[in-house]
Symmetry: C3
Protein backbone atom coordinates (compact mmCIF):
# COMPACT_ATOMS: atom_id res chain seq x y z
CA UNK A 1 0.00 0.00 0.00
CA UNK A 2 2.68 2.50 1.04
CA UNK A 3 4.74 1.18 -1.84
CA UNK A 4 1.99 1.95 -4.35
CA UNK A 5 1.49 5.42 -2.85
CA UNK A 6 5.22 6.01 -3.11
CA UNK A 7 5.26 5.07 -6.80
CA UNK A 8 2.25 7.34 -7.38
CA UNK A 9 4.19 10.19 -5.75
CA UNK A 10 7.12 9.49 -8.06
CA UNK A 11 4.77 9.50 -11.06
CA UNK A 12 3.23 12.86 -10.12
CA UNK A 13 6.60 14.51 -9.52
CA UNK A 14 7.86 13.00 -12.78
CA UNK A 15 4.94 14.53 -14.65
CA UNK A 16 5.75 17.98 -13.26
CA UNK A 17 9.38 17.58 -14.30
CA UNK A 18 8.45 16.40 -17.79
CA UNK A 19 6.10 19.37 -18.28
CA UNK A 20 8.89 21.81 -17.34
CA UNK A 21 11.17 20.04 -19.83
CA UNK A 22 8.61 20.22 -22.65
CA UNK A 23 8.02 23.92 -21.98
CA UNK A 24 11.78 24.55 -22.08
CA UNK A 25 11.81 22.84 -25.52
CA UNK A 26 14.14 20.03 -24.40
CA UNK A 27 14.46 16.96 -26.59
CA UNK A 28 13.15 13.51 -25.69
CA UNK A 29 16.24 12.73 -23.61
CA UNK A 30 15.77 15.95 -21.65
CA UNK A 31 12.11 15.18 -20.98
CA UNK A 32 12.83 11.66 -19.71
CA UNK A 33 15.81 12.82 -17.64
CA UNK A 34 13.90 15.69 -16.04
CA UNK A 35 11.00 13.36 -15.29
CA UNK A 36 13.32 10.85 -13.64
CA UNK A 37 15.39 13.43 -11.77
CA UNK A 38 12.26 15.16 -10.44
CA UNK A 39 10.59 11.91 -9.44
CA UNK A 40 13.60 10.36 -7.73
CA UNK A 41 15.87 13.31 -6.84
CA UNK A 42 14.59 13.94 -3.33
CA UNK A 43 14.84 10.29 -2.31
CA UNK A 44 18.29 9.94 -3.87
CA UNK A 45 19.67 12.91 -1.92
CA UNK A 46 18.07 11.56 1.26
CA UNK A 47 19.61 8.11 0.80
CA UNK A 48 23.07 9.47 -0.03
CA UNK A 49 23.01 11.74 3.04
CA UNK A 50 21.88 9.05 5.48
CA UNK A 51 24.26 6.51 3.94
CA UNK A 52 21.66 4.10 2.56
CA UNK A 53 23.43 3.28 -0.71
CA UNK A 54 22.75 2.07 -3.33
CA UNK A 55 19.62 4.22 -2.89
CA UNK A 56 16.26 2.52 -2.57
CA UNK A 57 15.20 3.76 -6.00
CA UNK A 58 18.13 1.93 -7.62
CA UNK A 59 17.34 -1.38 -5.94
CA UNK A 60 13.85 -1.77 -7.41
CA UNK A 61 13.40 -1.24 -11.13
CA UNK A 62 9.81 -0.01 -10.72
CA UNK A 63 11.24 3.24 -9.34
CA UNK A 64 13.04 3.81 -12.62
CA UNK A 65 10.39 2.43 -14.95
CA UNK A 66 7.61 4.69 -13.62
CA UNK A 67 9.27 8.09 -14.27
CA UNK A 68 10.74 6.95 -17.60
CA UNK A 69 7.29 5.87 -18.84
CA UNK A 70 5.72 9.07 -17.49
CA UNK A 71 8.39 11.11 -19.28
CA UNK A 72 7.72 9.35 -22.59
CA UNK A 73 3.95 9.76 -22.19
CA UNK A 74 4.28 13.48 -21.45
CA UNK A 75 6.67 13.95 -24.36
CA UNK A 76 4.09 12.40 -26.70
CA UNK A 77 0.87 13.83 -25.24
CA UNK A 78 1.96 16.95 -23.39
CA UNK A 79 -0.90 19.19 -24.56
CA UNK A 80 -3.40 16.87 -22.87
CA UNK A 81 -1.25 16.63 -19.73
CA UNK A 82 -0.70 20.39 -19.63
CA UNK A 83 -4.45 21.03 -19.65
CA UNK A 84 -4.77 18.95 -16.49
CA UNK A 85 -2.28 21.07 -14.55
CA UNK A 86 -4.74 21.86 -11.70
CA UNK A 87 -5.06 18.12 -11.19
CA UNK A 88 -1.26 17.84 -11.13
CA UNK A 89 -1.03 20.59 -8.52
CA UNK A 90 -3.42 18.67 -6.28
CA UNK A 91 -1.62 15.38 -6.81
CA UNK A 92 1.70 17.12 -6.23
CA UNK A 93 0.52 18.23 -2.78
CA UNK A 94 -0.22 14.60 -2.00
CA UNK A 95 3.23 13.55 -3.20
CA UNK A 96 4.81 16.30 -1.10
CA UNK A 97 2.98 15.17 2.05
CA UNK A 98 3.88 11.55 1.47
CA UNK A 99 7.55 12.16 0.67
CA UNK A 100 8.34 14.61 3.46
CA UNK A 101 6.79 12.34 6.09
CA UNK A 102 8.32 9.10 4.82
CA UNK A 103 11.70 10.83 4.43
CA UNK A 104 11.62 12.21 7.96
CA UNK A 105 10.68 8.83 9.43
CA UNK A 106 13.40 7.06 7.45
CA UNK A 107 15.96 9.58 8.73
CA UNK A 108 14.77 9.06 12.31
CA UNK A 109 15.17 5.32 11.89
CA UNK A 110 18.71 5.94 10.57
CA UNK A 111 19.51 7.52 13.93
CA UNK A 112 19.40 11.22 13.08
CA UNK A 113 18.22 13.70 15.68
CA UNK A 114 14.91 15.56 15.38
CA UNK A 115 16.12 18.71 13.59
CA UNK A 116 18.27 16.89 11.00
CA UNK A 117 15.52 14.30 10.47
CA UNK A 118 12.94 17.01 9.79
CA UNK A 119 15.36 18.65 7.36
CA UNK A 120 15.87 15.35 5.55
CA UNK A 121 12.10 15.04 5.31
CA UNK A 122 11.86 18.46 3.66
CA UNK A 123 14.72 17.58 1.30
CA UNK A 124 12.94 14.36 0.33
CA UNK A 125 9.81 16.34 -0.49
CA UNK A 126 11.31 19.30 -2.33
CA UNK A 127 14.67 17.93 -3.55
CA UNK A 128 13.33 16.54 -6.80
CA UNK A 129 11.90 19.92 -7.78
CA UNK A 130 15.18 21.64 -6.93
CA UNK A 131 17.12 19.22 -9.15
CA UNK A 132 14.52 19.77 -11.92
CA UNK A 133 14.98 23.55 -11.75
CA UNK A 134 18.79 23.34 -11.65
CA UNK A 135 18.76 21.18 -14.80
CA UNK A 136 16.32 23.63 -16.43
CA UNK A 137 18.72 26.48 -15.55
CA UNK A 138 16.41 28.53 -13.35
CA UNK A 139 16.33 29.51 -9.69
CA UNK A 140 14.47 26.73 -7.86
CA UNK A 141 10.81 27.75 -7.59
CA UNK A 142 10.66 26.58 -3.98
CA UNK A 143 13.19 29.28 -3.05
CA UNK A 144 11.83 32.15 -5.04
CA UNK A 145 8.18 32.17 -5.95
CA UNK A 146 6.76 32.77 -2.50
CA UNK A 147 4.48 29.73 -2.69
CA UNK A 148 3.81 27.99 0.59
CA UNK A 149 5.52 24.72 -0.30
CA UNK A 150 8.57 24.05 1.87
CA UNK A 151 6.88 25.40 5.00
CA UNK A 152 3.97 22.92 4.96
CA UNK A 153 6.52 20.20 4.18
CA UNK A 154 8.54 21.25 7.23
CA UNK A 155 5.40 21.20 9.37
CA UNK A 156 4.48 17.67 8.34
CA UNK A 157 8.03 16.39 8.70
CA UNK A 158 8.29 17.98 12.16
CA UNK A 159 5.04 16.42 13.35
CA UNK A 160 6.21 13.04 12.09
CA UNK A 161 9.55 13.39 13.89
CA UNK A 162 7.92 14.59 17.12
CA UNK A 163 5.45 11.71 17.09
CA UNK A 164 8.29 9.29 16.53
CA UNK A 165 10.29 10.87 19.39
CA UNK A 166 7.22 10.46 21.63
CA UNK A 167 7.29 6.74 20.90
CA UNK A 168 4.26 6.60 18.59
CA UNK A 169 4.33 3.99 15.84
CA UNK A 170 5.13 5.25 12.36
CA UNK A 171 1.78 3.94 11.11
CA UNK A 172 0.00 6.13 13.67
CA UNK A 173 1.95 9.31 13.12
CA UNK A 174 2.36 9.24 9.35
CA UNK A 175 -1.30 9.85 8.44
CA UNK A 176 -1.92 13.01 10.49
CA UNK A 177 1.52 14.41 9.60
CA UNK A 178 0.99 13.93 5.87
CA UNK A 179 -2.55 15.30 6.17
CA UNK A 180 -1.17 18.48 7.77
CA UNK A 181 1.22 19.06 4.87
CA UNK A 182 -1.34 18.22 2.19
CA UNK A 183 -4.14 20.24 3.76
CA UNK A 184 -1.99 23.32 4.39
CA UNK A 185 -0.53 23.15 0.89
CA UNK A 186 -3.93 22.83 -0.78
CA UNK A 187 -5.42 25.64 1.33
CA UNK A 188 -2.45 27.85 0.39
CA UNK A 189 -3.06 27.13 -3.31
CA UNK A 190 -6.82 27.78 -3.06
CA UNK A 191 -6.56 30.95 -0.99
CA UNK A 192 -3.35 32.37 -2.46
CA UNK A 193 -1.42 32.33 0.83
CA UNK A 194 2.24 33.18 0.39
CA UNK A 195 5.51 32.91 2.29
CA UNK A 196 7.03 36.22 3.44
CA UNK A 197 8.96 37.63 0.51
CA UNK A 198 11.11 40.66 -0.12
CA UNK A 199 8.17 42.89 -1.01
CA UNK A 200 5.53 41.79 1.44
Amino acid sequence: MLYVLDLLGVAVFAASGALVAVRNRLDVVGVVVLATATGLGGGLIRDVLIGDVPPASLRDWWYLAVPIVVGLLVFRWHPAVGRREPLITTADAAGLGLFCVSGALKATEAGLGPLPAALIGVITGVGGGVVRDLLADRVPLVLSDGELYAIPALAGASVAVLGSELGLANAVVAGPAAALTIGWRLLAVRRGWHAPGPHR
Copy 2:
Protein backbone atom coordinates in the same frame (compact mmCIF):
# COMPACT_ATOMS: atom_id res chain seq x y z
CA MET B 1 45.51 -1.16 -20.56
CA LEU B 2 41.95 -0.39 -19.38
CA TYR B 3 43.52 1.96 -16.87
CA VAL B 4 45.33 3.91 -19.59
CA LEU B 5 42.16 4.05 -21.68
CA ASP B 6 40.27 5.32 -18.65
CA LEU B 7 42.81 8.10 -18.08
CA LEU B 8 42.60 9.00 -21.77
CA GLY B 9 38.82 9.26 -21.43
CA VAL B 10 39.27 11.57 -18.45
CA ALA B 11 41.71 13.69 -20.45
CA VAL B 12 39.34 14.07 -23.41
CA PHE B 13 36.38 14.99 -21.24
CA ALA B 14 38.60 17.40 -19.31
CA ALA B 15 39.58 19.10 -22.56
CA SER B 16 35.94 19.62 -23.48
CA GLY B 17 35.24 21.10 -20.04
CA ALA B 18 38.25 23.39 -20.24
CA LEU B 19 37.20 24.68 -23.68
CA VAL B 20 33.72 25.54 -22.38
CA ALA B 21 35.34 27.37 -19.47
CA VAL B 22 37.65 29.36 -21.73
CA ARG B 23 34.75 30.32 -23.99
CA ASN B 24 32.75 31.48 -20.95
CA ARG B 25 35.72 33.69 -20.04
CA LEU B 26 36.35 31.94 -16.71
CA ASP B 27 39.64 32.56 -14.92
CA VAL B 28 42.38 29.94 -14.51
CA VAL B 29 40.65 28.43 -11.46
CA GLY B 30 37.44 28.09 -13.43
CA VAL B 31 39.21 26.39 -16.32
CA VAL B 32 40.96 23.86 -14.09
CA VAL B 33 37.81 23.21 -12.05
CA LEU B 34 35.65 22.71 -15.13
CA ALA B 35 38.27 20.41 -16.63
CA THR B 36 38.39 18.33 -13.46
CA ALA B 37 34.64 18.30 -12.89
CA THR B 38 33.97 17.26 -16.48
CA GLY B 39 36.65 14.59 -16.48
CA LEU B 40 35.72 13.03 -13.14
CA GLY B 41 32.08 14.05 -12.56
CA GLY B 42 30.41 11.01 -14.08
CA GLY B 43 32.59 8.55 -12.18
CA LEU B 44 32.17 10.46 -8.91
CA ILE B 45 28.37 10.39 -9.14
CA ARG B 46 28.51 6.67 -10.03
CA ASP B 47 30.71 5.84 -7.04
CA VAL B 48 28.65 7.91 -4.58
CA LEU B 49 25.42 6.24 -5.78
CA ILE B 50 26.75 2.68 -5.59
CA GLY B 51 28.46 3.36 -2.27
CA ASP B 52 32.06 2.96 -3.40
CA VAL B 53 33.55 5.81 -1.37
CA PRO B 54 36.03 7.40 -1.34
CA PRO B 55 35.48 7.32 -5.11
CA ALA B 56 38.06 5.57 -7.30
CA SER B 57 39.25 8.90 -8.72
CA LEU B 58 40.19 10.09 -5.21
CA ARG B 59 42.24 6.98 -4.42
CA ASP B 60 44.72 7.37 -7.27
CA TRP B 61 46.33 10.73 -7.82
CA TRP B 62 46.69 10.21 -11.57
CA TYR B 63 42.93 10.75 -11.87
CA LEU B 64 43.37 14.22 -10.44
CA ALA B 65 46.67 15.09 -12.08
CA VAL B 66 45.45 14.37 -15.62
CA PRO B 67 42.49 16.79 -15.75
CA ILE B 68 44.40 19.48 -13.81
CA VAL B 69 47.26 19.37 -16.30
CA VAL B 70 44.82 19.29 -19.23
CA GLY B 71 43.03 22.31 -17.77
CA LEU B 72 46.28 24.27 -17.45
CA LEU B 73 47.36 23.32 -20.99
CA VAL B 74 44.03 24.42 -22.46
CA PHE B 75 44.10 27.65 -20.45
CA ARG B 76 47.50 28.45 -21.95
CA TRP B 77 47.05 27.16 -25.51
CA HIS B 78 43.31 27.18 -26.05
CA PRO B 79 43.36 28.60 -29.59
CA ALA B 80 45.35 25.58 -30.76
CA VAL B 81 43.09 23.18 -28.85
CA GLY B 82 39.93 24.87 -30.10
CA ARG B 83 41.02 24.42 -33.73
CA ARG B 84 41.19 20.68 -33.14
CA GLU B 85 37.57 20.44 -31.98
CA PRO B 86 36.60 17.81 -34.60
CA LEU B 87 39.35 15.64 -33.14
CA ILE B 88 37.94 16.25 -29.66
CA THR B 89 34.45 15.25 -30.83
CA THR B 90 35.82 11.94 -32.10
CA ALA B 91 37.84 11.31 -28.96
CA ASP B 92 34.82 12.28 -26.87
CA ALA B 93 32.78 9.52 -28.52
CA ALA B 94 35.48 7.06 -27.49
CA GLY B 95 35.41 8.37 -23.92
CA LEU B 96 31.63 8.09 -23.87
CA GLY B 97 31.70 4.48 -25.05
CA LEU B 98 34.37 3.53 -22.55
CA PHE B 99 32.76 5.26 -19.57
CA CYS B 100 29.18 4.09 -20.11
CA VAL B 101 30.27 0.46 -20.49
CA SER B 102 32.73 0.45 -17.58
CA GLY B 103 30.18 2.26 -15.39
CA ALA B 104 27.42 -0.20 -16.22
CA LEU B 105 29.67 -3.20 -15.53
CA LYS B 106 30.85 -1.71 -12.22
CA ALA B 107 27.22 -1.15 -11.18
CA THR B 108 26.36 -4.74 -12.09
CA GLU B 109 29.25 -5.96 -9.97
CA ALA B 110 27.95 -3.81 -7.09
CA GLY B 111 24.76 -5.85 -7.22
CA LEU B 112 22.40 -3.49 -9.02
CA GLY B 113 19.73 -4.90 -11.32
CA PRO B 114 19.84 -4.49 -15.11
CA LEU B 115 17.81 -1.28 -15.46
CA PRO B 116 19.57 0.62 -12.62
CA ALA B 117 22.96 -0.64 -13.83
CA ALA B 118 22.30 0.62 -17.36
CA LEU B 119 21.23 3.98 -15.91
CA ILE B 120 24.43 4.17 -13.85
CA GLY B 121 26.36 3.48 -17.04
CA VAL B 122 24.67 6.38 -18.80
CA ILE B 123 25.31 8.65 -15.79
CA THR B 124 28.98 7.67 -15.83
CA GLY B 125 29.19 8.63 -19.50
CA VAL B 126 27.21 11.85 -19.51
CA GLY B 127 27.44 13.01 -15.86
CA GLY B 128 30.68 14.94 -16.31
CA GLY B 129 29.17 16.98 -19.13
CA VAL B 130 26.07 17.71 -17.05
CA VAL B 131 28.21 18.96 -14.14
CA ARG B 132 30.23 21.08 -16.62
CA ASP B 133 27.08 22.72 -17.97
CA LEU B 134 25.60 23.32 -14.51
CA LEU B 135 28.81 25.08 -13.45
CA ALA B 136 28.77 27.09 -16.69
CA ASP B 137 25.16 28.11 -15.91
CA ARG B 138 23.47 26.63 -18.97
CA VAL B 139 20.96 23.87 -19.61
CA PRO B 140 22.95 20.64 -20.02
CA LEU B 141 23.56 20.11 -23.74
CA VAL B 142 22.74 16.43 -23.42
CA LEU B 143 19.16 17.35 -22.46
CA SER B 144 18.51 20.08 -24.95
CA ASP B 145 20.48 20.12 -28.17
CA GLY B 146 18.92 17.09 -29.80
CA GLU B 147 22.31 15.43 -30.40
CA LEU B 148 22.31 11.66 -30.29
CA TYR B 149 24.52 11.32 -27.22
CA ALA B 150 22.68 9.77 -24.27
CA ILE B 151 20.82 7.30 -26.48
CA PRO B 152 23.95 5.60 -27.90
CA ALA B 153 25.33 5.60 -24.35
CA LEU B 154 22.18 3.84 -23.14
CA ALA B 155 22.48 1.31 -25.96
CA GLY B 156 26.07 0.44 -25.08
CA ALA B 157 25.38 0.28 -21.36
CA SER B 158 22.35 -1.97 -21.97
CA VAL B 159 24.32 -4.36 -24.15
CA ALA B 160 27.03 -4.55 -21.49
CA VAL B 161 24.48 -5.26 -18.77
CA LEU B 162 22.65 -7.87 -20.85
CA GLY B 163 25.89 -9.63 -21.69
CA SER B 164 26.82 -9.66 -18.04
CA GLU B 165 23.38 -11.04 -17.09
CA LEU B 166 23.86 -13.80 -19.66
CA GLY B 167 27.03 -14.81 -17.87
CA LEU B 168 29.53 -13.49 -20.39
CA ALA B 169 32.86 -12.25 -19.06
CA ASN B 170 33.28 -8.50 -18.83
CA ALA B 171 36.29 -8.71 -21.14
CA VAL B 172 34.12 -10.31 -23.81
CA VAL B 173 31.14 -8.00 -23.56
CA ALA B 174 32.90 -4.68 -23.06
CA GLY B 175 34.39 -4.37 -26.53
CA PRO B 176 31.25 -4.86 -28.64
CA ALA B 177 29.17 -2.75 -26.21
CA ALA B 178 31.61 0.16 -26.35
CA ALA B 179 31.89 -0.21 -30.13
CA LEU B 180 28.11 0.10 -30.45
CA THR B 181 28.09 3.38 -28.51
CA ILE B 182 31.11 4.80 -30.31
CA GLY B 183 29.96 3.75 -33.77
CA TRP B 184 26.42 5.05 -33.33
CA ARG B 185 27.65 8.31 -31.86
CA LEU B 186 30.16 8.91 -34.66
CA LEU B 187 27.61 8.04 -37.33
CA ALA B 188 25.16 10.46 -35.74
CA VAL B 189 27.77 13.22 -35.82
CA ARG B 190 28.73 12.52 -39.45
CA ARG B 191 25.19 12.19 -40.75
CA GLY B 192 23.50 14.77 -38.54
CA TRP B 193 21.06 12.29 -36.92
CA HIS B 194 19.10 13.83 -34.06
CA ALA B 195 17.00 12.74 -31.12
CA PRO B 196 13.28 13.54 -31.36
CA GLY B 197 12.84 17.12 -30.20
CA PRO B 198 9.96 19.50 -29.74
CA HIS B 199 10.03 20.65 -33.37
CA ARG B 200 10.70 17.44 -35.22
Copy 3:
Protein backbone atom coordinates in the same frame (compact mmCIF):
# COMPACT_ATOMS: atom_id res chain seq x y z
CA MET C 1 37.50 25.67 20.79
CA LEU C 2 37.83 24.25 17.25
CA TYR C 3 34.14 23.43 17.47
CA VAL C 4 33.24 27.04 18.24
CA LEU C 5 35.49 28.26 15.42
CA ASP C 6 33.82 25.80 13.08
CA LEU C 7 30.35 27.07 14.00
CA LEU C 8 31.57 30.65 13.51
CA GLY C 9 32.79 29.68 10.04
CA VAL C 10 29.37 28.21 9.27
CA ALA C 11 27.71 31.40 10.51
CA VAL C 12 29.87 33.66 8.32
CA PHE C 13 29.34 31.54 5.21
CA ALA C 14 25.61 31.41 5.99
CA ALA C 15 25.51 35.22 6.17
CA SER C 16 27.10 35.50 2.73
CA GLY C 17 24.57 33.03 1.32
CA ALA C 18 21.65 34.84 2.91
CA LEU C 19 22.80 38.19 1.48
CA VAL C 20 22.97 36.71 -2.03
CA ALA C 21 19.46 35.35 -1.53
CA VAL C 22 18.08 38.70 -0.36
CA ARG C 23 19.67 40.48 -3.31
CA ASN C 24 18.14 37.96 -5.69
CA ARG C 25 14.73 38.76 -4.12
CA LEU C 26 14.18 35.21 -2.86
CA ASP C 27 11.46 34.61 -0.29
CA VAL C 28 12.10 33.64 3.34
CA VAL C 29 12.46 29.97 2.44
CA GLY C 30 15.05 30.85 -0.19
CA VAL C 31 17.04 32.98 2.25
CA VAL C 32 17.13 30.27 4.92
CA VAL C 33 17.95 27.54 2.39
CA LEU C 34 20.75 29.54 0.78
CA ALA C 35 22.15 30.37 4.22
CA THR C 36 22.12 26.71 5.21
CA ALA C 37 23.43 25.42 1.88
CA THR C 38 26.28 27.94 1.89
CA GLY C 39 27.19 27.28 5.50
CA LEU C 40 27.12 23.51 5.31
CA GLY C 41 27.56 22.69 1.60
CA GLY C 42 31.33 22.30 1.59
CA GLY C 43 31.36 20.00 4.60
CA LEU C 44 28.46 17.95 3.26
CA ILE C 45 30.23 17.32 -0.07
CA ARG C 46 33.44 16.45 1.81
CA ASP C 47 31.67 13.94 4.06
CA VAL C 48 29.76 12.30 1.20
CA LEU C 49 32.97 11.93 -0.83
CA ILE C 50 35.04 10.46 1.99
CA GLY C 51 32.16 8.23 3.08
CA ASP C 52 31.52 9.79 6.49
CA VAL C 53 27.73 9.59 6.42
CA PRO C 54 25.45 10.77 7.88
CA PRO C 55 27.61 13.92 7.54
CA ALA C 56 28.94 15.57 10.68
CA SER C 57 26.62 18.54 10.21
CA LEU C 58 23.58 16.24 10.41
CA ARG C 59 24.70 14.58 13.63
CA ASP C 60 24.79 17.75 15.74
CA TRP C 61 21.80 20.05 15.61
CA TRP C 62 23.91 23.17 16.27
CA TYR C 63 25.21 22.88 12.70
CA LEU C 64 21.68 23.28 11.42
CA ALA C 65 20.45 25.77 14.00
CA VAL C 66 23.25 28.28 13.35
CA PRO C 67 22.69 28.85 9.61
CA ILE C 68 18.89 28.77 9.97
CA VAL C 69 19.01 31.48 12.65
CA VAL C 70 21.53 33.48 10.61
CA GLY C 71 19.25 33.21 7.58
CA LEU C 72 16.24 34.48 9.53
CA LEU C 73 18.27 37.35 11.02
CA VAL C 74 19.55 38.42 7.61
CA PHE C 75 16.07 38.16 6.11
CA ARG C 76 14.76 40.52 8.81
CA TRP C 77 17.71 42.93 9.11
CA HIS C 78 19.52 42.65 5.80
CA PRO C 79 20.14 46.39 5.30
CA ALA C 80 22.21 46.46 8.49
CA VAL C 81 24.03 43.25 7.55
CA GLY C 82 24.67 44.46 4.01
CA ARG C 83 26.36 47.61 5.29
CA ARG C 84 28.85 45.46 7.16
CA GLU C 85 29.98 43.60 4.04
CA PRO C 86 33.67 44.50 4.49
CA LEU C 87 33.47 42.82 7.89
CA ILE C 88 31.87 39.78 6.25
CA THR C 89 34.67 39.60 3.67
CA THR C 90 37.25 39.53 6.45
CA ALA C 91 35.33 36.94 8.43
CA ASP C 92 34.83 34.92 5.25
CA ALA C 93 38.60 34.70 4.77
CA ALA C 94 38.84 33.28 8.28
CA GLY C 95 36.12 30.74 7.51
CA LEU C 96 37.88 29.79 4.29
CA GLY C 97 41.19 29.20 6.07
CA LEU C 98 39.56 27.17 8.80
CA PHE C 99 37.46 25.01 6.49
CA CYS C 100 40.10 24.21 3.88
CA VAL C 101 42.60 23.14 6.54
CA SER C 102 40.15 21.12 8.65
CA GLY C 103 38.75 19.51 5.49
CA ALA C 104 42.19 18.54 4.22
CA LEU C 105 43.19 17.06 7.58
CA LYS C 106 39.93 15.12 7.84
CA ALA C 107 40.51 13.69 4.35
CA THR C 108 44.06 12.70 5.29
CA GLU C 109 42.74 10.91 8.36
CA ALA C 110 40.23 9.11 6.12
CA GLY C 111 43.19 7.65 4.25
CA LEU C 112 43.25 9.77 1.11
CA GLY C 113 46.58 10.59 -0.52
CA PRO C 114 48.09 14.08 -0.53
CA LEU C 115 46.64 15.41 -3.80
CA PRO C 116 43.08 14.16 -3.21
CA ALA C 117 43.22 15.34 0.41
CA ALA C 118 44.25 18.84 -0.65
CA LEU C 119 41.44 18.86 -3.21
CA ILE C 120 38.93 17.82 -0.54
CA GLY C 121 40.23 20.69 1.59
CA VAL C 122 39.58 23.17 -1.21
CA ILE C 123 36.11 21.69 -1.79
CA THR C 124 35.34 22.05 1.92
CA GLY C 125 36.33 25.70 1.77
CA VAL C 126 34.70 26.76 -1.48
CA GLY C 127 31.93 24.15 -1.92
CA GLY C 128 29.33 26.06 0.05
CA GLY C 129 29.78 29.11 -2.15
CA VAL C 130 29.50 27.00 -5.29
CA VAL C 131 26.22 25.48 -4.08
CA ARG C 132 24.99 28.98 -3.20
CA ASP C 133 25.72 30.26 -6.70
CA LEU C 134 24.17 27.20 -8.40
CA LEU C 135 20.96 27.74 -6.42
CA ALA C 136 21.05 31.45 -7.28
CA ASP C 137 21.40 30.49 -10.98
CA ARG C 138 24.74 32.12 -11.70
CA VAL C 139 28.22 30.93 -12.62
CA PRO C 140 30.04 30.26 -9.33
CA LEU C 141 32.01 33.38 -8.42
CA VAL C 142 35.02 31.28 -7.44
CA LEU C 143 35.34 30.12 -11.06
CA SER C 144 34.76 33.38 -12.84
CA ASP C 145 35.47 36.60 -11.02
CA GLY C 146 39.24 36.35 -10.95
CA GLU C 147 39.39 36.82 -7.17
CA LEU C 148 42.23 35.03 -5.42
CA TYR C 149 40.04 32.67 -3.41
CA ALA C 150 40.53 29.03 -4.39
CA ILE C 151 44.30 29.45 -4.82
CA PRO C 152 44.98 30.58 -1.23
CA ALA C 153 42.65 27.78 -0.11
CA LEU C 154 44.71 25.29 -2.09
CA ALA C 155 47.92 26.66 -0.57
CA GLY C 156 46.65 26.25 2.99
CA ALA C 157 45.21 22.81 2.33
CA SER C 158 48.48 21.71 0.72
CA VAL C 159 50.58 22.92 3.65
CA ALA C 160 48.28 21.10 6.05
CA VAL C 161 48.55 17.88 4.05
CA LEU C 162 52.32 18.14 3.71
CA GLY C 163 52.73 18.75 7.42
CA SER C 164 50.57 15.77 8.16
CA GLU C 165 52.58 13.61 5.72
CA LEU C 166 55.76 14.72 7.52
CA GLY C 167 54.31 13.36 10.74
CA LEU C 168 53.51 16.67 12.41
CA ALA C 169 50.51 16.72 14.74
CA ASN C 170 47.35 18.31 13.33
CA ALA C 171 47.38 20.84 16.16
CA VAL C 172 50.84 22.00 15.07
CA VAL C 173 50.19 22.19 11.36
CA ALA C 174 46.67 23.62 11.35
CA GLY C 175 47.54 27.08 12.63
CA PRO C 176 50.26 28.03 10.13
CA ALA C 177 48.33 26.45 7.25
CA ALA C 178 45.16 28.39 8.04
CA ALA C 179 47.18 31.56 8.58
CA LEU C 180 48.68 31.18 5.09
CA THR C 181 45.24 30.98 3.49
CA ILE C 182 43.77 33.81 5.56
CA GLY C 183 46.74 36.10 5.13
CA TRP C 184 47.04 35.56 1.39
CA ARG C 185 43.30 35.99 0.90
CA LEU C 186 43.18 39.22 2.92
CA LEU C 187 46.23 40.64 1.16
CA ALA C 188 44.64 39.83 -2.19
CA VAL C 189 41.48 41.68 -1.16
CA ARG C 190 43.40 44.73 0.12
CA ARG C 191 45.78 44.98 -2.83
CA GLY C 192 43.43 43.86 -5.58
CA TRP C 193 45.53 40.84 -6.61
CA HIS C 194 43.77 38.64 -9.14
CA ALA C 195 44.03 35.14 -10.58
CA PRO C 196 45.09 34.92 -14.23
CA GLY C 197 41.98 35.46 -16.31
CA PRO C 198 41.13 35.48 -19.99
CA HIS C 199 42.01 39.17 -20.39
CA ARG C 200 45.06 39.53 -18.24
